[in-house]
């Protein structure tokens, strides 16, 4: 390519370069050709699919979603009964997926960070234990872990009458975990409002005071101020709701099962524990890599300018480690969400399970699969969109 570009050639050929030798034209031409090829193949795939669907008599109509589902669902955070529509049942599945994913991501991040830091510990025993933990979980298929945890929750715990009682009270038995759950009393509204207010105020104070500190160099104790707001405002709300904003909804054994409280099924518990322990092993490696990626010189420099240990961590190590950690962490979060579909083997009614049941009860495989893919895609895109915003914020600002 170089010769064509050289001025000597251009002069020899004069101002009229033949089209087939003009690099600019060729480039555009190549773009068009590859676009046609790609779009053509895509079209071919779609047409092929539509033809096959028609030949096999598979209808592509989504109208069935409005019909009554007819099947029961074991656990749902919104009121469900079998007279609701297939769409509603599907939404129950989506919410169940979101529930296990959000709770799972929360705990996996905490556990993963702890294990990751433990692996870097100078204590031989701690770092070896963390190593064994990560290697064990990284080398066993998630499905096997799930089945082990499931049989633990079913067979390892006593029956309902002989429940293990933890303070709370929390009941542990083979029907799951029954938690005493706080529910709002009629006069509880001021308390809820005060909590929301406290969170907003705390964030505002944090941001404003921190900027002020960065601008002027005067210590504003922004962390303490925020924490103080977080505590004081809810106390005011608590007094306003006559000291009784919440009441405990205690689970009570009635007939076959516990009634009241918040019920976590063994299926949910097994899925959650399986996903958390599995994903935490990967997050631990990500965290370890991130911390190790920070150059040793940075640490020494920070010491040299007299930062204390917590400043060293919060101002030097963590900001730089996060840059390395966040991108792979996003994909671990997505993995956890998508892996929750393995719940189909242990009977937790999440999105994929509800989809499969719908396929069978409504006989509309293609539409349901499209719906399942669309929902997973949306969840994944949304998760990475949010985390990418965060990622952009913590990247190095080039000056």
């Amino acid at each position: 390519m170089a010769p064509e570009k050289s001025p000597a050639n251009a002069i020899q050929a004069g101002s009229q370069i033949p089209l087939w030798r003009d690099e600019r034209v060729l480039r555009i031409f190549a773009q068009i050709v590859s676009a046609i090829v790609v779009i053509g193949l895509l079209l071919l795939a779609v047409i092929n699919f539509l033809n096959a669907a028609e030949q096999r008599g598979l209808s592509l109509d989504f109208g069935f979603l409005g019909e009554a589902a007819g099947f029961p669902i074991g656990e749902s955070d919104i009121p469900y009964d079998p007279s609701r529509s297939f769409l509603y049942a599907f939404i129950v599945g989506v919410l169940n997926t979101l529930k296990v994913s959000i709770v799972g991501i929360f705990f996996a991040t905490i556990l993963g960070t702890l294990v990751g830091i433990a692996r870097l510990s100078t204590n031989w025993l701690v770092s070896r234990m963390a190593l064994v933990y990560t290697e064990f979980h990284r080398n066993i298929p998630l499905l096997v872990l799930l089945l082990i945890w499931f049989s633990f929750f079913i067979t390892g715990l006593p029956d309902v009458e002989g429940s293990i009682v933890l303070p709370g009270p929390i009941y542990l038995n083979q029907r799951g975990i029954q938690l005493t759950w706080p529910r709002l009393t009629p006069q509880g509204a001021p308390f809820v409002i005060s909590i929301l207010l406290a969170i907003i105020m705390a964030i505002l104070a944090w941001v404003y005071l921190r900027r002020y500190q960065e601008r002027t160099g005067r210590s504003t104790y922004f962390a303490f101020v925020s924490l103080g707001l977080l505590i004081i405002i809810p106390i005011i709300g608590f007094i306003l709701s006559k000291g009784q904003p919440l009441q405990a909804d205690v689970p009570v054994l009635d007939g076959f099962n516990f009634v009241g409280g918040y019920d976590l099924s063994p299926e949910f518990a097994a899925l959650l524990v399986g996903l958390v322990t599995y994903t935490a092993a990967f997050i631990a490696e990500v965290v370890r890599a991130g911390i190790q990626a920070v150059d040793r010189g940075q640490l020494e420099a920070a010491r040299a300018i007299g930062l204390n240990y917590s400043q060293l961590l919060s101002l030097v190590i963590i900001p730089q480690a996060l840059r390395v950690i966040i991108p792979p962490l996003i994909s671990q979060y997505l993995n956890l969400t998508k892996n929750s579909s393995l719940a189909v083997f242990i009977g937790y009614p999440e999105l994929f399970f509800m989809g499969k049941t719908t396929i069978n009860q409504a006989g509309r495989a293609v539409q349901v699969i499209i719906l399942i893919m669309a929902v997973y895609l949306s969840i994944s895109l949304l998760t990475s969109f949010i985390l990418n915003i965060y990622n952009r914020r913590i990247q190095i600002v080039e000056r």
Binding site: S34, N48, L58, P72, I73, G74
Partner: protein, 351 residues
């Protein structure tokens, strides 16, 4: 240069991916909704019947000690292979979960679904064509004996283990809703998981077709600790089904079922089928193809199709005895007796 290389490589990769994708769908056109005789031709070309079955239900479809498929539903597939291809071993069994059997039939992945599937009008409309009832069943409940439960009303608030994607699942919901009872359903796709989970005590009861409950209880560590309640909440006509489109194949499957039933009615057994070919009874001779016609030629079957089927697996009664009766689960025949003995098993004459 390197960018050009990159583009070229990616284009080739893309083409390869799409080619692979198209290749798969081309390969799949084998399962296209069939026209008249297409499935029959496919079976003859392949020289085996693809039978959607199960391997996890004692009596109906399971594996014996040698890994061979055996069972009440399995024998029908063997009878079909014997009738059409002359050899009961020319069957390819595809194990299907309850949730997978509908799509497998819709896409024509299997030639026949013989996997204790309940015949419902919706399934008939969507999945394919249901042939003729092979076993009359009804949905019941199994509970631990020490629970003292005898009636469905006592199950208010109970946790019930059930297989997902079945009529059982929706019947359960209907039965509880109808009576205003509280229900927590724990559903699994895998039938074996449903029962092991129930046995471990995760559920207060489990529900399915009574024959299935009977079969499963026999496999429990302590069968006597569990009781099948004397209530039936649904009609479950378990019926083999074929993909839509090929009426010839549809008729063949029905004829073979009728043949096995008629053989029992006429006293033709696996042991005496050869002598019976020269019987004095015209009906028997016609059934076994040694005199006259009952439509074999039009269906593309050999004249002695039913004789071959009976020689391979026995008549309906013998199949029942072997797998569900004294040779197997010890399930009383009940409504699955011949109509001449007061049951519901009745087939049109083959003439």
């Amino acid at each position: 240069m390197s960018r050009k290389l990159l583009i070229t490589v990616s284009v080739f990769v893309l083409i390869a991916i799409f080619a692979a994708a198209c290749g798969t769908s081309d390969g799949g056109t084998e399962g296209t909704a069939a026209g008249y005789g297409e499935i029959v031709n496919r079976i003859k070309e392949r020289d085996s019947v693809v039978c959607g079955s199960r391997t996890d239900l004692a009596g109906f479809g399971e594996l014996d000690a040698n890994g061979r498929n055996v069972g009440f539903d399995i024998d029908l597939c063997r009878a079909l292979a014997a009738a059409l291809l002359g050899d009961p071993e020319k069957v390819e069994f595809v194990a299907l979960s309850a949730a997978d059997r509908g799509p497998a039939l819709q896409t024509g992945e299997v030639d026949v679904l013989s996997r204790n599937a309940t015949w419902t009008t919706t399934r008939d409309a969507q999945w394919g064509n249901f042939t003729s009832v092979w076993y009359y069943d009804g949905q019941g409940f199994m509970v631990p004996v020490d629970s003292g439960i005898t009636d469905i009303e006592q199950l208010d608030g109970a946790t019930v283990c059930v297989t997902s994607g079945t009529t059982t699942e929706t019947n359960l919901a209907d039965a509880f809703r109808q009576r205003g009872l509280e229900l927590t359903a724990v559903t699994f796709e895998d039938t074996a998981t449903v029962y092991s989970t129930y046995e471990e005590g995760r559920c207060d009861a489990t529900t399915s077709d009574k024959s299935q409950l009977f079969a499963v209880r026999g496999g429990f560590a302590n069968p006597d600790d569990h009781v099948i309640l004397d209530i039936t909440i649904s009609k479950e006509p378990l019926t083999p089904a074929v993909p839509s489109g090929d009426d010839q194949w549809f008729d063949i499957v029905k004829s073979v079922i009728f043949g096995l039933i008629n053989a029992e009615e006429l006293g033709v057994t696996q042991a005496n089928v050869e002598q019976m070919k020269s019987s004095d009874v015209i009906k028997i001779k016609r059934l076994l193809g040694s005199e006259g016609e009952w439509g074999q030629a039009d269906l593309g079957l050999p004249a002695d199709a039913v004789a071959k089927a009976v020689a391979a697996v026995g008549n309906y009664g013998e199949i029942y005895e072997r797998h569900l009766g004294s040779g197997g689960l010890n399930l009383p025949r009940g409504v699955n007796e011949l109509w001449t003995n007061g049951g519901l098993i009745y087939a049109p004459d083959q003439k």
